[in-house]
């Protein structure tokens, strides 16, 4: 009762009571339900969560597909680049490419993102401090006026390479090359055949047995698509394949896991086993050759490799079962090369052949450079090449590979950012030539080493000029065929312009291989054993110092591959 009284009193008074407030808010709440406020907010916030402003979305622009070539390493695989608004938004392999057959290495598929890699070199740096191109030019001009310049090239045979050579000749400098593992494996033949390593290759199309001493044949060796295609068509899954791949390797690598036969041996015993095999072949007259006989007893070869003597004998027999048989080393290994010679597979169809008639061999670079005023390192040189010299070092690179002793770090064009030509890939049996035009807008103020040199020396031909000369040469020689959307013999092409048109659209010229017999080989004595430099699995097919961000899918977001150990870092 008392309650009621209180309330009526309040009722007369006009002052708001707690009760009025409660009634009011109850009404407001009830009213709100029939307004758009709660519902629209519910809807719009959910839409907002579908389009968070901080999440980047690709622009709606038409996509254009352009055929070109990968220039990140000397393999030069054919590319299908998806371009949108002047940027590469995706890469795939060029199906019509006569060598790579539409294949790329896993890293190639992420290459279009490399130009924005956090480790991209964005500015000229001098001993760690920001500098400018003018200062770099001045410093280089001064250096070359004071003494000889050594130029290191990691990708010989390009137009840029001949700019380097031209400069070296004109300025009493030296031109040196750093070869990839595949080419290094061919160098032993140089002194036995007189043909430069870079003119040699394996005629794998016609090979029946490959004995690989740790070469990652199915994991980025040579031009990936070339070998893997052969393997897939002739070998994969078959119990008695047309192409037998025997992998000699301490651990079960990708190649070993997929090879026809895998023989685990002790670390570093490749040479011993190769010599041992050669000895068995010679002693049991399994081969035509009669010498030289390797100075190693079968027992020793067995002891060092960890295989039984019988296993080695059986292996020797297998090697001659299906010939031609080539022995391929992971790196420079004279014993393995000599085994190929004993097997009689040099200068024969399906063996080691000569693809072009060039006589001059390149001098491969020695890190120790005693008397030079300046060393210029092209961006194609692997980051692990660290010159030991007192000279001033000009290091071109698109990406920063970590620690370096270079005085100058000079930002080079990145992926698809400059016009370059694509010479024959290492270890191929035929000559090829292609062109990779500049597709993407240069992301930063960059200069290639060739541009840089041309800038210092006005009467030096530019890369572009040389490429045009080469096209003209190709047209004059009238040999070989051009593989584009359709294949056409050079002889059938009307003009240089037409030829260039096709090349700029991604066509590949393939030369006619000289007869195998043109390569003569003479092995006087069994080569002394050398311990080859260790090659690191998949990354040896990839010479740029950084990996595309998406590579993390392979070795961080999955355990498909081992993380490559960072060089110098």
């Amino acid at each position: 009762m008392s309650d009621a009284l209180v309330v009526t009193n309040e009722g007369r008074s006009m002052k708001l009571t707690r009760r009025d407030l409660l009634a009011w808010s109850a009404g407001a709440a009830a009213g709100l339900i029939v307004t758009p406020i709660p519902w629209k907010i519910l809807d719009d916030t959910s839409i907002w969560s579908q389009n968070w402003p901080w999440i980047p979305q690709p622009a709606r622009v038409p996509v254009e597909i352009i055929q070109s070539h990968c220039t990140l390493c000397p393999k030069g695989c054919g590319l299908r680049v998806r371009m949108a608004a002047g940027w590469a938004v995706g890469v795939a392999g060029m199906k019509t490419h006569p060598i790579s057959h539409g294949a790329l290495c896993p890293l190639g598929f992420g290459a279009h993102q490399l130009n924005w890699h956090p480790q991209r070199l964005r500015e000229v740096r001098h001993r760690g401090n920001p500098s400018s191109w003018t200062e770099a030019h001045a410093a280089f001009a001064k250096a070359k006026s004071e003494g000889p310049v050594v130029i290191i090239d990691g990708y010989p045979g390009r137009g840029a390479s001949s700019v380097f050579e031209g400069f070296a000749e004109a300025n009493h400098g030296l031109y040196r090359v750093v070869l990839g593992a595949e080419s290094r494996a061919l160098t032993p033949y140089e002194q036995w055949t007189g043909a430069p390593a870079l003119s040699l290759g394996y005629d794998l199309e016609n090979t029946q047995t490959i004995i690989s001493f740790g070469a990652p044949l199915l994991d980025g060796w040579g031009t990936p698509g070339y070998v893997t295609r052969l393997w897939a068509e002739k070998s994969a899954g078959a119990d008695d394949p047309q192409l037998r791949i025997i992998q000699i390797e301490p651990s079960l690598s990708r190649t070993a896991a997929r090879a026809w036969k895998w023989m685990p041996i002790r670390e570093g015993s490749e040479s011993a086993l190769a010599s041992g095999l050669a000895r068995v072949l010679l002693e049991q007259n399994l081969v035509a050759a009669h010498g030289p006989v390797p100075p190693i007893a079968l027992s020793e070869a067995a002891a060092r490799s960890g295989l039984s003597e019988d296993a080695i004998r059986d292996l020797a027999r297998v090697l001659v079962e299906r010939q031609p048989t080539v022995a391929i080393a992971a790196n420079e290994n004279p014993s393995v090369a000599a085994l190929s010679v004993i097997l009689g597979s040099v200068g024969v169809r399906g063996g080691i052949v000569r693809r072009e008639k060039i006589e001059r061999a390149y001098f491969s670079a020695n890190p120790v450079i005693p008397d030079a005023r300046a060393v210029l390192i092209d961006s194609s040189v692997p980051w692990d090449f660290v010159p030991q010299t007192g000279a001033e070092i000009f290091r071109f690179a698109a990406w920063n590979g970590g620690l370096t002793n270079a005085d100058w770090l000079l930002p080079a064009p990145g992926f698809l950012e400059e016009l370059t030509d694509v010479p024959t890939a290492p270890a191929l049996p035929v000559e090829t030539y292609a062109v990779a035009p500049a597709l993407a807008k240069p992301t930063y103020e960059v200069q290639s080493a060739a541009q840089f040199l041309a800038g210092t020396d006005s009467n030096l031909a530019s890369t572009e000029k040389i490429i045009h000369q080469r096209c003209a040469e190709l047209f004059r020689n009238r040999s070989g065929t051009l593989h584009g959307q359709e294949s056409i013999a050079i002889a059938k092409i009307e003009s240089v312009q037409k030829l260039e048109e096709r090349l700029w659209k991604g066509a590949v010229w393939v030369g006619e291989a000289p007869p195998p017999a043109s390569l003569r080989c003479e092995l006087k004595e069994w080569p002394s054993e050398t311990t080859p430099a260790h090659t690191t699995g998949w990354t040896n097919s990839w010479d740029v110092p950084v990996l595309p961000p998406l590579a993390s899918k392979l070795y961080i977001e999955s355990s498909l591959r081992e993380a490559p150990e960072r060089r110098n870092a």
């Binding site: 009404g27 407001a28 009213g31 029939v34 307004t35 916030t45």
Partner: protein, 196 residues
């Protein structure tokens, strides 16, 4: 008496809420923006005799839709001022002469996750542009672009009526509107038929 007082308070509450929701809220939710140039479809249809939408809003050979015509298209006629309207001056001086694209505000802009193919709707289903874009093609004045502050969408997606009950034919471009039309034409494309 006691009840009465409560009822009044309650009613006041309801009223306040209604005003807030139906009158004030829409004004707060949407922010009005003006087009960079006062472009009139009607004028172009009449003066320059552009008869068909596709003359400017083309579909490329690969089926992709070019959307709004690029600046060159305008420049073809408006390289120099035609007449001396204010809009004309803005177009020529601010965009065509310096060669900037005109930053049009697209009323029917859909978010990134929506995939809409004009080719399929126009060429295969033979829908008239007005089916979705209403009579905008004949508009003789530009209306401001209204941006939803929360969702960032154009108001045209929801439609003008807040309740969505009294909205004009061909108004509204929410997913439900697409679905209704698909149902009407017996088309079933699934989620990814329209989403990226």
């Amino acid at each position: 008496m006691r009840i009465g007082r409560n009822a009044i308070a309650f009613a006041v509450g309801v009223l306040v809420a209604l005003v807030l929701g139906w009158v004030i809220f829409p004004r707060v939710l949407y922010v009005k923006k003006n087009q960079p140039v006062e472009f009139l479809h009607k004028t172009h249809a009449e003066k320059s005799g552009v008869a068909d939408c596709s003359e400017c809003h083309t579909i490329r050979d690969d089926g992709t839709f070019a959307g709004l015509p690029p600046m060159e298209k305008c420049a073809a006629c408006h390289a120099d001022k035609i007449g001396d309207s204010k809009a004309e001056a803005i177009l020529v001086n601010n965009y065509i002469k310096p060669g900037h694209e005109t930053p049009w505000l697209v009323y029917s802009e859909q978010p990134a996750n929506v995939w809409f193919s004009h080719a399929i709707h126009v060429k295969r289903a033979n829908l008239a542009c007005s089916e979705c874009h209403s009579t905008y093609g004949e508009s003789d004045q530009v209306r401001p672009y209204e941006l939803n502050r929360i969702s960032g969408y154009s108001r045209d997606i929801w439609g003008h009526s807040m309740s969505r009950l009294r909205r004009a034919p061909h108004e509204g471009m929410k997913m439900s509107d697409c679905e209704d039309c698909h149902k009407k034409h017996g088309v079933d494309v699934g989620c990814l038929g329209c989403h990226e």
